[in-house]
């Protein structure tokens, strides 16, 4: 089986079979990461450009490692050191880069829709590493992988996403991914940070975190940014922490064998207490490890790979 598209722009519209294929493909790659020599020749001769128009630590390093472990040639670019500063348009920049003969582009951008825009300007495979508040598909895939690894299933689990849903691309990709895979998804956050008609994505919506956590298996805690307070969405981070912060006390409402996730970077003491972030039920670091395997799988499949990796 192959993926239908040569791009990975988002999880909206992706089938259960395609997502399963990516998760299955990531398993042998994860195993490779455990070996003493963590490199395979799969993408030898393939040139991948990482275009990061927005600061990123985790995602960028994760993609670079995934590419290097597949023996791809890797070029990384960040907006602060490019001709963007000289006023060149995005289209010109990427077409110039492609003219130097490349195969794949991994793109992170603060504007929604940029990965789609690149598919209109370029022939290369485009991988979305996060666009505005739209999608962050590899993050959702690694979340799915981490949850499937622990529970051996996704269907039937109750997943609650807590925080700034309005500005979160992780929330959107997780909603599409988890609902497609048969989980029951709920979101919870301040009314000002829940986007219009979000319930139409086929999920429950809560403003009371205790109510939302009742009987949940997985809690994905999103980062809350100080900018939201400045933007007038929140009176204060202190009030946010009181009403929505995930602390040990609130965990009592969860099902046994529950899981705490966080896409990072964490604001310790704001959206999550350190005890919870570091608790035995936290898979935050597993998520990071699995991110490399998922990205290897995505790179492999989009470069034309099929089915099982040997």
């Amino acid at each position: 089986m192959k993926l239908r598209s040569k791009h990975l722009l988002g999880l909206e519209g992706m089938t259960k079979e395609e997502i399963t294929l990516i998760l299955d493909t990531a398993e042998p790659f994860k195993e490779i990461l455990e070996r003493p020599i963590r490199i395979v020749p799969t993408l030898r001769g393939v040139t991948v450009v990482n275009l990061f128009y927005e600061p990123s630590t985790r995602t960028r390093i994760s993609f670079e490692l995934a590419e290097k472990r597949l023996s791809a040639e890797v070029i990384s670019f960040s907006a602060t050191t490019s001709s963007v500063k000289k006023g060149e348009t995005l289209k010109d920049t990427v077409r110039n880069i492609e003219a130097m003969k490349i195969d794949m582009v991994v793109v992170r951008h603060q504007c929604s829709g940029v990965p789609y825009f690149l598919t209109q300007c370029l022939d290369s495979s485009i991988i979305n590493a996060g666009d505005g508040a739209h999608e962050h598909p590899t993050q959702a895939l690694l979340d799915l992988f981490t949850i499937r690894e622990k529970y051996k299933k996704i269907r039937g689990l109750k997943v609650v996403i807590v925080g700034d849903i309005k500005y979160s691309r992780v929330a959107r990709s997780d909603i599409w991914g988890f609902t497609t895979m048969g989980a029951k998804v709920a979101v919870c956050g301040p009314t000002t940070l829940l986007p219009y008609e979000i319930e139409k994505m086929g999920i429950e919506v809560h403003h009371d975190v205790d109510e939302a956590l009742e009987g949940a298996d997985v809690v994905n805690v999103l980062r809350i940014q100080l900018e939201r307070q400045k933007g007038g969405f929140l009176p204060s981070l202190r009030e946010y922490t009181n009403k929505f912060g995930i602390n040990v006390d609130r965990l009592k409402r969860l099902n046994e064998n529950f899981t705490i996730m966080h896409p990072g970077p964490i604001n310790r003491g704001v959206e999550i207490t350190p005890e919870v972030a570091d608790g035995p039920y936290s898979v935050i670091l597993n998520q990071v490890t699995n991110g490399v395997a998922i990205r290897m799988a995505v790179l492999y499949l989009l470069s034309g790979g099929e089915g099982k990796v040997e």
Binding site: T89, L90, F117, D131, H134, R172, P195, Y196, M201
Partner: protein, 441 residues
């Protein structure tokens, strides 16, 4: 129009007309005239409208066979951005007029948000100098406030004396209620309408598309319906209080239509327009991140489109205007968030009216034509928009059945930013006639 005495007079006239338009269905919404008739033009004026077949014997230098066609007053676009001065790379008054006549328009109102804005008498004069070379009539709208900054009123008397037909800070709202109040009060002295771009900039701040489920799923900042509606409500209250005339530009939401309907019932002096894209497209058009679908006010939902059609049908919405907003390819081929708002519309407006409103039985032919002719003419106190003896022979001849596919690369406009490329439309402009001269094709 068809009293026997007049006909006799015509038959006895020895003169040869400059132009005869024979056998078309002539629709003049003002006089409720709607039947097969011949029109004779001389000296740039309509000289005779006659349903009598025998008049065909009268000589004319040029004869248009309009059988199977519809002859209507030349269309009037009361809302276009012609970009001159300042952005002549995107459009000029001349190229805008070429686009207009290709779309059947014989008069176009140009909005003052140029660079610099049309906020003084000299700037208005500049527009009218450029307008001399235009293929159609250009009427100028002046700014409400100096520099369109929303602070100090322009010298409105000066503008009126130079020939503006309305004032507007279009592109931006007049945010200060006090400034808007004063403008409405002041304009009463000239019976001048204020064309209001209704947008609460706090509510729309940072928005790039309609706030709804589509913006939620795309993760884009939304412009909520209320950003328009709270300003419509404010302007209606100000118009009621001052007795001034307000014309609400580009109505896009159900709530605005409802507010205006109520205001009209209460006798407030309000008129309004909508655009072809707002009665045709929804926010679903943005799903492919097509920056040509980025427009302000944004494309709304199906529910809003239906409400706008209802408002057109029951007369709440007086006119249809293009909000023709040319933008260069370089400016539009960027990240959606960074692209400017606006789409060209002069060459697709009429086809969209026919396809979406007439053929779908929302409006009858005379109703649809009224919204493109006599209604804007009355709002702006123009001469055009009517087929009437001794009035300027501004006429548009259309083939109601002809179908065509929109191809922006063929547009006469300098800019091609249309979301309608590839769309099949019914209703094609065959001839556009300004002051008795065929200016299109």
């Amino acid at each position: 129009m068809s009293n026997p005495k007049k006909k006799k007079e015509i038959l006895n006239q020895p003169l040869e007309f400059e132009l005869a338009i024979l056998g078309g269905r002539v629709i003049d919404p003002e006089s409720r005239f709607d039947r097969i008739a011949d029109i004779f033009v001389h000296d740039g004026l309509i000289k005779e409208i006659s349903s009598r077949k025998t008049t065909t014997r009268i000589g004319a230098k040029e004869v248009i066979d309009a059988k199977g066609k519809i002859v209507v007053p030349g269309l009037i676009d009361m809302h276009a951005h012609l970009r001159e001065p300042g952005r002549e790379d995107e459009e000029t008054i001349y190229t805008g007029s070429c686009s207009a006549v290709a779309g059947g328009f014989t008069s176009v109102c140009c909005m003052p948000n140029t660079e610099p804005p049309i906020d003084n008498q000299e700037a208005v004069k500049f527009v009218y100098v450029k307008a001399k070379e235009a293929k159609c009539k250009i009427v100028c709208v002046g700014a409400v406030t100096k520099g369109e900054k929303g602070e100090e009123l322009t010298e409105i008397l000066d503008l009126v004396q130079a020939g503006v037909v309305a004032i507007s800070d279009d592109g931006k709202p007049v945010s200060s209620s006090q400034v808007m109040r004063n403008a409405l009060e002041y304009c009463k002295m000239f019976n001048l309408p204020i064309i209001s771009h209704c947008e609460d900039l706090n509510l729309s701040s940072g928005g790039v598309m309609h706030e709804g489920f589509v913006s939620t799923s795309l993760g884009m900042n939304g412009i909520p319906s209320i950003a328009e509606e709270v300003m419509v409500a404010r302007d209606l209250k100000l118009a009621e209080f001052t007795g001034g005339r307000v014309h609400i530009a580009h109505v896009s939401t159900q709530g605005s239509v409802d507010l205006i309907r109520e205001a009209k019932k209460r006798g407030i002096k309000v008129t309004c327009e909508t655009t072809p894209h707002h009665f045709t497209l929804t926010d679903e058009s943005v799903k492919t991140f097509d920056t040509n679908a980025k427009v302000n006010p944004p494309l709304r939902t199906r529910k809003d489109v239906e409400a706008i059609k209802k408002g057109l049908k029951d007369g709440t919405i007086d006119s249809i205007a293009t909000d023709h907003a040319p933008h260069s390819v370089e400016e539009k081929e960027v990240e959606f968030d960074f692209a400017p708002f606006g789409m060209v519309g002069l060459e697709t407006a009429f086809g969209l009216v026919v396809t979406e409103l007439v053929n779908k039985k929302i409006l009858t032919w005379p109703q649809a034509i009224a919204k493109l002719t006599i209604n804007p003419s009355r709002i702006l106190n123009l001469k055009g928009g009517r087929i009437k003896r001794d009035f300027p022979a501004d006429l548009t001849i259309i083939d109601p059945k002809a179908s065509w596919i929109v191809n922006p690369s063929q547009f006469k406009s300098k800019s091609k930013n249309s979301p309608f490329g590839g769309k099949k439309l019914r209703g094609r402009v065959c001839y556009t006639i300004v002051d008795g001269k065929i200016v299109f094709p």
